[in-house]
Amino acid sequence: MGAAFGYFPESGFNLYFRPEVTPGPDEEPTFDPCLGFENGRKERVMVATEEQMRSAKIPPSERDYCAHHLLKFMACRKENWPWVVNCEHEKHVYATCKYDDYVIRMKEYERERRLRVREQKNKEIEAA
């Protein structure tokens, strides 16, 4: 709620009034991911394998970098049913992973936006 009335509306207005520097919600990053990182960035590691996810029938939308935590969480739920409150630890680990994933996507968006602003400025300087 707070976010929805805080900085979310701004994204809509930015996309409408400054589409040249505002990445849309479905746009992948366009710049070199290691631009500005002298030693490069750490790659995200996928722990769960395709076979594991397929045998656990994890839906395609959930086969992201947190899938191994989801696997553990669902396995724990199955073992402890109906006392699923015993899986609070697994649940928390999974939620934390999802949160970190969200933060990475947020940072990636902001990086893309700032690089676009920078590119725009450089163009203006060249034109002048």
């Binding site: 994204s11 809509g12 750490k42 996507r105 990636e108 968006y109």
Partner: protein, 172 residues
């Protein structure tokens, strides 16, 4: 037993000499159910007013347009809900006094039906303005914000498929 038969005989006799008692059952109708013909002259009007127990100044008529109200009085439209509940009515259930003439549409103005003479808290004009204001106001806001679709400022979800590489923000 004989007394029972006697009482039955009394009933039969009374029905024989007062056939009006069975008119409603036999014919489902009697002449008093129907108002008289539309009064043309002043004299007829006075007569009709007396028949309905009204003062001539209170006696008004429905227009003679073929609807068939005849000489039935056009009474003020006062719903039962608007009548004083603390007045000692002869018939409190209907808020009606004995021999008080009934409105032609009485069955639509009882307490369990519509209150034709309700005093509104807000005038109908105000109510329409409020309704249309809310409706068109909401639609206006919708039209404005239809252009500015807000979204989570995020890149799309990252999946390790098709050999795509994704990075954290930690340096190596």
């Amino acid at each position: 037993m004989s007394s029972l038969i006697k009482s039955a005989k009394i009933t039969q006799l009374s029905l024989k000499y007062n056939p009006v008692l069975v008119t409603a059952v036999r014919n489902h109708w009697n002449k008093d159910y129907k108002p008289g013909p539309y009064p043309r002259t002043e004299e007829e009007k006075l007569k009709a007013a007396e028949r309905y127990g009204l003062h001539p100044s209170e006696y008004k008529l429905y227009p003679n347009d073929g609807t068939g109200w005849g000489d039935y009085p056009k009474l003020p439209e006062v719903g039962a809900d608007s009548k004083d509940p603390y007045y000692p009515w002869d018939n409190p259930e209907l808020k009606r006094n004995f021999n008080e003439p009934m409105h032609a549409e009485f069955d639509l103005m009882r307490e369990d039906r519509y209150n034709v003479s309700a005093r509104l808290r807000y005038s109908l004009r105000t109510q329409w303005l409020q309704f249309l204001g809310v409706m068109f106001g909401t639609f206006g806001i919708y039209c404005i914000f239809e252009k500015f679709k807000m979204f989570h400022p995020l890149v799309p979800r990252q999946y390790p498929i098709d050999g795509k590489k994704h990075y954290t923000f930690e340096t190596e």
